[in-house]
């Protein structure tokens, strides 16, 4: 062994090198305040390891970026851990950079002969900030997409060359495949290579001038190895523990819904270390000055930060003047202080302030979480992610899209009690569902059916608020034959001896909707319900038969077994009568009702008080809202929910 090492030393001189590296003297001994540079180098090492791993699983294109990150996060061994470490180590790096900078400035370590190294450090800081910026976009989720768009718009606002720079960075006039390929090449190739280069120089120059020691009276001198190395190692361990802790606590980094330019995202915020700038740009005086100087956005976003940074870079020169060092320290504290206050303000306004903006932000964040979790649930379902990408999963999901359409077209008439306060007008129709509570549908539920059967007048009371030419029809409905039926039969239906029969009738109707919790058309209860629907004969007394007024073509189990859905029986119980009850409360029934209620509900001469939406909604919208109201959407089977954030 010894001979082998001798041989190696003879050929390489590694012992001198090691000696040089390890026996660096430290006047005044090892100190905790010197650890920042080492922790930064260590964190960078962590980023390289995890970054290479992620690289092996990541695919930069608009239809595969989110998808591959989803796969990393939810399917791969240690995927969420590796991604979480990479994410939180990036945050740690920013914090350590600030601490390192503070230590250097406060100790005066930036002064001659170390000016160049100070500048090298500032270049490194810029590189790390750009690494953060480029990395934020790569998952191609709503959060990263919209936040990064703000950053590239800022680049576009730069005087003269701005628009060109923006196009170069984006790889075209708008975001797409080439934005990702470029950001990825920058993030995983160009910027790390620059970082390694500058870090090498930084360490070389640092060694050349030796450590800027702070030696107090009576302190013994020390050596780098092992005293300082141990301190560095312990500090790195603490950083690693913090990164791992954050990773485990938040179950890795967040992945919101896939980026969708057609879907607004009102919680777009940059990463926290750019938040001060974000807040600064929101001040009115900043835009006013921008206007006055004809620089626009660029003033607050580029010129002012540029000036502040230049003052920082000039510190070694400022220090030559009397009071120069004190000025520098004061300057650093005030810039950091102001940035800290701005960050705090932005944070408070978003997360705690009881303002409309704050509430909007928090709601948007909540929706982004929800949509992200929903996309993951859909991706993990049998359908999986189609080759066209995961954004389509959400765009074609009734549970996600239905409530939005309902809110836009339907809610103002069909107000639920939970939303009365949102409208000045009284409701004109029964509430069906609250888009804010989207997995609870009142319409077509068993309670709904009971209420229509035994309290028709009360159930549709809101119709009385309809005015104008549809008012007459509404009045006619409220005084019509179903109202009479309900009034005269309610007592019989709800009689205790008929409890089972009443339930059976409700179940029969409910089964027609094919909702997930509906009983099979072959079950005894449903068959009994069909009998009552046809004859009106109950255990005790009778009601007027439903088939006398309603078309009904009941569902049966598909005899060929090809379809999971039930199909219509060979024969109808009754035909050509309105309101049609075939498939009542199911997707097709709702779709017909929303598209053309006159035809579906009332027939040519009947009373209909609802406007048709066939001309207002696209077919896709009709389908989404109908499927939502009919509970015809994918539900994660109980016990299969995966952990989300």
């Amino acid at each position: 062994m010894k001979r082998l090492l001798d041989w190696l030393d003879h050929r390489t001189g590694y012992r001198d090198l090691m000696h040089e590296a390890l026996n660096e003297p430290i006047p005044g001994g090892a100190k905790w305040r010197y650890v920042w540079g080492s922790t930064l180098t260590f964190t960078f090492f962590v980023q390289v390891i995890t970054g290479f791993c992620l690289w092996m699983a990541y695919s930069p294109s608009a239809t595969t970026a989110w998808e591959s990150v989803y796969f990393i996060q939810h399917q791969m061994v240690f995927g969420w851990v590796v991604r979480g470490i990479h994410h939180f180590a990036a945050q740690a790096m920013m914090i350590l950079l600030i601490l390192h900078l503070m230590q250097v400035v406060i100790d005066g370590a930036y002064r001659a002969p170390r000016e160049v190294n100070f500048w090298l450090g500032l270049v490194l800081m810029q590189i790390v900030m750009f690494l953060g910026l480029t990395g934020y976009l790569l998952p191609w989720d709503q959060k990263g997409y919209y936040a990064t768009r703000v950053a590239t718009e800022i680049m576009g606002s730069a005087p003269f060359v701005g628009p060109w720079i923006q196009q170069l960075v984006q790889g075209g006039p708008s975001y797409g495949n080439h934005t990702l390929t470029r950001f990825f090449a920058l993030h995983a190739g160009v910027l790390p290579a620059l970082l390694v280069m500058f870090l090498g120089l930084h360490i070389y120059v640092f060694r050349r001038h030796a450590l800027h020691a702070i030696k107090n009276e009576g302190e013994e001198d020390g050596v780098f190895w092992p005293d300082q190395i141990l301190k560095d190692g312990v500090a790195c361990l603490a950083v690693l523990a913090a990164i791992m802790g954050a990773t485990l606590y938040w179950h890795g980094a967040e992945l919101t819904a896939p980026a969708n330019p057609a879907e607004a995202y009102s919680a777009a915020r940059p990463e926290w270390y750019y938040l001060f700038l974000f807040k600064f740009l929101q001040f009115e005086f900043v835009s006013q000055w921008g206007e006055a100087t004809h620089l626009g956005e660029a003033l607050g976003a580029i010129v002012i930060p540029g000036v502040l940074f230049t003052i920082l870079a000039l510190m070694p020169i400022t220090a030559y003047f009397k009071w120069g060092h004190r000025f520098n320290v004061a300057y650093l504290w005030s810039v950091l202080g102001i940035a800290g206050v701005l960050t705090g303000m932005a944070y408070y306004e978003d997360w705690y302030a009881d303002t409309p903006e704050g509430r909007d932000f928090r709601q948007a964040v909540e929706e982004a979480h929800r949509d992200g979790a929903r996309t993951v649930a859909l991706a993990e379902s049998k359908t999986g992610i189609p080759p066209s990408g995961a954004a389509l999963l959400l765009a074609n999901d009734p549970l996600t899209q239905g409530p939005k359409i309902f809110e836009q077209y339907c809610l103002s008439c069909h107000q639920t009690e939970s939303r009365f306060d949102d409208f000045s007008e009284a409701p004109q129709a029964p509430g069906l569902a609250d888009p804010h509570i989207r997995d609870q549908i009142d319409f077509g539920s068993r309670d709904w059916i009971r209420s229509v059967l035994t309290d028709f007048g009360g159930h549709f009371a809101a119709l009385a608020n309809i005015e104008g030419n549809r008012g007459e029809a509404a009045e006619a409905i409220l005084e019509g034959s179903m109202k009479d039926w309900s009034d005269s039969n309610a007592e019989t239906l709800t009689a205790p001896e008929n409890a089972d029969d009443y339930e059976a009738l409700v179940e029969f109707l409910y089964t027609q909707s094919q909702r997930p919790d509906a009983l099979s058309p072959e079950s005894e209860v449903v068959l009994r319900g069909m009998e009552i629907f046809t004859t009106g004969e109950l255990t005790n007394g009778s009601v007027d038969a439903c088939v006398d007024c309603h078309s009904m073509h009941p569902v049966v189990v598909d005899p060929t077994g090809l379809s999971d859905r039930w199909i219509l029986a060979d024969e109808a119980l009754s035909e050509d009568l309105q309101p049609v009850l075939t498939g009542y409360g199911g997707t097709e029934w709702v779709l017909q009702m929303v598209a053309d209620p006159q035809a579906h509900y009332a027939g040519e001469y009947g009373n209909n008080a609802m406007p048709g939406f066939a001309d207002q909604m696209t077919h896709q919208e009709l389908e989404m809202v109908s499927k939502w109201l009919a509970e015809d959407f994918y539900v994660v089977p109980a016990g299969e929910e995966t952990e989300s954030h």
């Binding site: 092996m56 998808e67 240690f78 001198d221 361990l237 992610i385 080759p387």
Partner: protein, 188 residues
């Protein structure tokens, strides 16, 4: 520049026991902080070996290929594309080409199926009617019509696949791929 270069100063200042302890702890800490990212990164990279393939099939694995009417009893083999659902990392393809098979009908109307990929190194073999044999374009492996190899280039004959004729004339094949370059037929 500080020129107080005296590496032995601390050696003397610190008792050797303490110095050894410091060195030991320093190395230990260094080991831990290096190991943690490497372990997680290593597991991540080994994903293909650690993650079992999900057996998503609740079907029997057979795929519909074509009709018996497209084959002549005792006639030449014909090539068919196999399409099916495929899971490729994050993407689910509902209908995509997953391979090719040769189907051949004997005089007694029994159907034989071969995976069209060459057991040598995986090229797709051709049926040459003039030679009345399967010949691989890559390194000239050749196979007789019953799939036996007729030269020494491939390590084994063409891989047969299970066939079922359903509903009178539908040919269903259980499509599988096998490892190339081995004498045995090992499914992948």
């Amino acid at each position: 520049m500080t020129e107080t270069h005296s590496p032995d100063a601390t050696e003397q200042a610190n008792p050797p026991r303490r110095n050894f302890l410091v060195k030991f702890v320093a190395v230990l800490v260094g080991g831990v902080i290096t190991a943690v990212p490497l372990v997680f990164g290593g597991g991540f990279i080994l994903n293909p070996l650690l993650k079992k393939k999900s057996s998503d099939e609740d079907s029997d694995g057979f795929t519909f290929i074509g009709s018996t009417n497209s084959l002549l009893p005792g006639g030449p083999p014909r090539s068919y594309k196999v399409t099916g659902a495929k899971q490729d990392a994050w993407t689910t393809y509902s209908e995509t080409a997953i391979g090719a098979v040769y189907l051949k009908m004997d005089e007694d109307r029994s159907v034989t199926a071969f995976n069209a990929s060459c057991p040598h190194l995986g090229c797709t073999v051709n049926y040459k009617s003039d030679a009345n044999a399967f010949i691989c374009p890559c390194h000239d492996s050749s196979f007789s019509l019953d799939g036996e190899r007729s030269n020494e280039i491939p390590p084994r004959g063409l891989d047969t696949l299970n066939v079922e004729v359903r509903n009178d004339n539908e040919i269903w094949v259980k499509f599988e791929n096998f490892r190339a370059g081995t004498a045995e037929k090992i499914p992948v």
